[in-house]
């Protein structure tokens, strides 16, 4: 085995104690699964919070079914049921946003796919620092526990929005939330460390541990996007950490960074938060774009259109993402002269996304499209991301943003990019790499039903929100019927709520499919999707150490339907000329590897 591959720091594979294998695991594949289970759990939690929010919005201040089981700090008990309290609604909004972004989508994209794909796709034995990788996961767990625990403490969970604008967030005096807000800050700081450690690992691994022949421009786009994402995390998280700690000091020991009453600067929080926050939203979309590119090219059996410009677009988004944060602050009281420059830079950043969208479309042109579940989700990603991206153009336009800022138009945007974008890509990714993770396929028919229902209900829930926004309905508002001019929106909100419940219910199909397939799904071959990339040249699931012998890479990852091969794919490892069969010789598993 190549010298470099020992950098993984394994000594002997022979008998790994149970605890080191499943709990304090250092194997990147196991850590990926750990991240997956934890963040899927948080996805369910976030969905449940959303459900409660939707009840209040669809049936304002009416008794919530089952609300009786919640403590009086959250629900006001009345003879005919419990009614949600405004402070609890604020906590719901805040925790829904926080949990979905930091504890569901981010760990799914970076923790799951980063860990699973990077070493496998570049032909490495494991991460550069396996133990550090374990630390990364075991920092995320306590962070999650703290975040959930904050629901139980005196004063309830944080209620200042996932953006926790100062001065509202600087003191319980304003919100009634003391400990909850502090737990929120502590939890995110710890989670920040976790992501940081993780990205140090990803970056080092990609730079140092690529197999022979795996040049930068032969790397699959998923790995490319995860690499750039890791760089964004590495540079953005420290900014957030600094801001969080300052806010925590304001909360606890009484410093005055963001407290105007003692000469502090509230807008400084917004600048720091969004200087992190905008790169963050690209952290949440780049890996999704990478996953989509993999699935799209593979299921269309066609080389990705314009591989190099796809890479450049990823890198370009990574750079431009740093100069647009002001578009969240057009109405904040920031010097309005800055508005125009931030509008222009924001417009410019739409262009790399445009390149990607058009290249995806061109990839489908004259292709051979296999519409199985991963592909369906990938296609949904493209079409939904277009909607979410285009709504961004309205908000980027300063005069129009005056009207739609902090309305449901923004909420619609959030969900089109994060659910329609990131989450559909996650569904695509999970169904696509499921066989590699568990050695079994997920159930196709059930998956298709879940996909169709999710796509329909999802659009019925979130598309009307654009309209709510246009009618002037503000976000983070507990009871919109308090406004005369919003009262007519009652039916539309009820409609949204009904389909939100259906959307949530539909996800049960995915849960069932997921767990059923782990145990009962049909056995998967080494390369069920006839794919070219390295992860498909090893057994499913791959043994500890991944590659029996150092793989040798001869070409780019998307050589589908190449004339060089008589099948419609040509693995990166097939030697030139040796491609006649197109199927790589099965790699023997090293003795003693089987767990």
């Amino acid at each position: 085995m190549g010298k470099a591959l020992d950098a993984g720091g394994h000594h002997d594979h022979h008998e790994i104690p149970w605890i080191r294998q499943y709990i304090f695991a250092t194997d990147h594949k196991m850590i990926a699964k750990q991240f997956m289970f934890v963040s899927l759990f948080f996805l369910v939690v976030g969905g449940a919070l959303a459900g409660m929010m939707r009840w209040q919005l669809g049936f304002p201040s009416q008794p919530m079914p089952g609300g009786m089981i919640l403590p009086d700090a959250m629900m006001a008990p009345t003879p005919n049921g419990a009614i949600m309290l405004p402070e609890f609604y604020n906590s719901l909004v805040t925790m829904h946003g926080t949990i979905m972004i930091f504890f569901a989508i981010m760990p799914l994209l970076v923790g799951l796919f980063g860990n699973l794909l990077i070493p496998l796709q570049i032909g490495a034995e494991d991460m550069a620092f396996p133990r550090l990788n374990m630390v990364s996961f075991w920092l995320a767990v306590p962070a999650g526990i703290l975040m959930l625990a904050s629901f139980g403490v005196e004063g309830g969970a944080a209620g200042a929005g996932w953006t926790s604008y100062a001065p509202l967030s600087t003191s319980g005096e304003w919100t009634g939330v003391y400990l909850g807000q502090q737990l929120w800050l502590a939890s995110l700081t710890i989670l920040g460390f976790s992501s940081l450690v993780g990205s140090v690992n990803y970056i080092s691994t990609v730079i140092n541990m690529r197999a022979p022949g795996m040049t930068w421009f032969r790397m699959p786009l998923a790995t490319w996007s995860l690499f750039v994402t890791a760089v964004l995390i590495l540079l953005a998280i420290p900014i957030l950490a600094g801001a969080l700690i300052m806010l925590l000091f304001d909360q606890t020991i009484g410093t005055g960074f963001f407290r105007p009453e003692v000469g502090g600067e509230p807008l400084l929080w917004q600048h720091l938060f969004w200087f992190f926050g905008h790169p963050e939203v690209y952290i949440l979309i780049l890996p999704a774009m990478g996953i989509t590119s993999e699935v799209l090219a593979n299921r269309a059996r066609k080389p990705i259109f314009g591989y190099h410009s796809m890479v450049l677009a990823i890198v370009g988004i990574g750079f431009l993402g740093w100069i647009v944060w002001g578009h969240h602050m057009f109405q904040s009281g920031m010097n309005p002269l800055l508005g125009t420059s931030f509008m222009i830079s924001t417009m410019a950043i739409a262009v790399p996304s445009a390149i990607k969208v058009f290249n995806w479309l061109a990839t489908l042109w004259k292709a051979d499209i296999h519409l199985d579940v991963p592909m369906l989700h990938a296609l949904a990603f493209v079409s939904m991301f277009i909607i979410g991206g285009l709504s961004g153009i309205f908000m980027a336009n300063t005069p129009v943003d005056i009207y739609i800022h902090d309305t449901y138009f923004i909420v619609a945007h959030i969900h089109y990019v994060l659910f329609g974008g990131s989450l559909f890509a996650i569904f695509a990714g999970i169904t696509f790499w499921f066989p590699k993770m568990f050695g079994r396929m997920m159930n196709e028919p059930l998956g298709k039903v879940h996909f169709v229902l999710t796509l329909i209900f999802y659009n019925l829930v979130f598309f009307p929100m654009h309209n709510l926004g246009l009618r002037g309905m503000m976000r983070r508002i507990y009871d919109f019927t308090q406004y005369e001019f919003l009262a007519p929106l009652q039916p539309m909100n009820q409609f949204i709520t009904v389909f939100a419940f259906l959307l949530i219910a539909t996800q049960v199909l995915f849960v069932i499919n997921f767990f059923w397939s782990i145990f009962k799904g049909e056995k998967a071959s080494e390369n069920p999707w006839d794919s070219n990339t390295l992860e498909w040249t090893v057994p499913s699931p791959p043994p500890h150490g991944n590659f029996a012998e150092m793989p040798m890479v001869y070409r780019g990852p998307y050589e589908y339907s190449s004339p060089e091969s008589d099948t419609d794919f040509l693995p990166q490892t097939t030697p030139p000329g040796g491609g006649s069969s197109g199927v790589p010789e099965p790699t023997p598993t090293p003795e003693g590897v089987e767990a």
């Binding site: 304003w174 314009g306 309005p336 277009i386 902090d406």
Partner: protein, 229 residues
């Protein structure tokens, strides 16, 4: 749901900003609308047209730089143009407060809007100023310059029918201006999460004819509780 509620039109506006904001909105609606239908139609066409059939083989094609340049340049030009086009409107609405505007102070605090008017002496910050709670009164066809302030946390003054929205920041005095074009009662809302009572922080903007406004103002000035010596 009552689909009558559904509309891509901006709701009716009553300030001089309406035309600027709404026309930009409709322009973007056109651009994005066309882009949307074009891209989605293409997507669906490809899915149907190139759906897998026995014996179909995808064309082996790595892309075309010419096409990519084209579809990079077009959005870039459209978007930068759009940005340049919007600068004027933004500056007029947020930077250049017109001369001869009527000045008032609006102070936000949990959870109320407090409007301060110059008394008979026509000057703010003097003893004869008077306040009104959760109401803003203004004359039609005259620019109103609001000194927007906040006492505790961030709030956001939202006058949907006037196409006005501006955060109020403690410790700052932010200029907000608009000119109403029709008399009537309109909405005051708070668009920035400001705590438990965020929802309830609303009020009424009343636009009077010039004469009525004078009458209202002097009447209010009378009722003002006399300051204790």
């Amino acid at each position: 749901m009552n689909w009558g509620d559904w509309s891509w039109m901006m709701p009716e506006g009553f300030s001089t900003f309406t035309a600027e904001v709404d026309s930009l909105y409709y322009l973007i609606l056109w651009i994005t609308g066309v882009t949307f239908f074009a891209t989605e139609a293409l997507l669906i066409y490809f899915i149907v047209r190139y759906r897998h059939k026995e014996g179909r083989k995808a064309t082996y094609d790595h892309g075309s730089t010419k096409m990519e340049v084209v579809w990079t340049a077009i959005p870039l030009l459209i978007l930068i143009g759009l940005g340049a086009l919007s600068k004027g409107a933004w500056d007029r609405m947020k930077i250049d407060v017109p001369a001869g505007a009527m000045e008032i102070i609006v102070t936000a605090k949990q959870f109320e809007w407090n409007a301060t008017y110059p008394g008979p002496d026509g000057a703010l910050g003097t003893a004869d100023d008077f306040d009104v709670l959760n109401q803003i009164h203004a004359p039609v066809d005259q620019p109103v310059w609001i000194h927007l302030r906040a006492e505790d946390v961030l709030h956001s003054l939202f006058l949907p029918e006037m196409r006005v929205k501006q955060d109020a920041v403690p410790g700052r005095d932010i200029p907000v201006w608009f000119e109403a074009m029709a008399t009537g009662d309109y909405t005051i809302g708070c668009a920035e999460l400001c705590g438990i009572g965020h929802t309830t922080m609303n009020g009424t903007l009343t636009i009077h004819s010039a004469a009525d406004f004078q009458a209202w103002a002097s009447a209010r000035a009378e009722q003002r509780p006399q300051p204790q010596p």
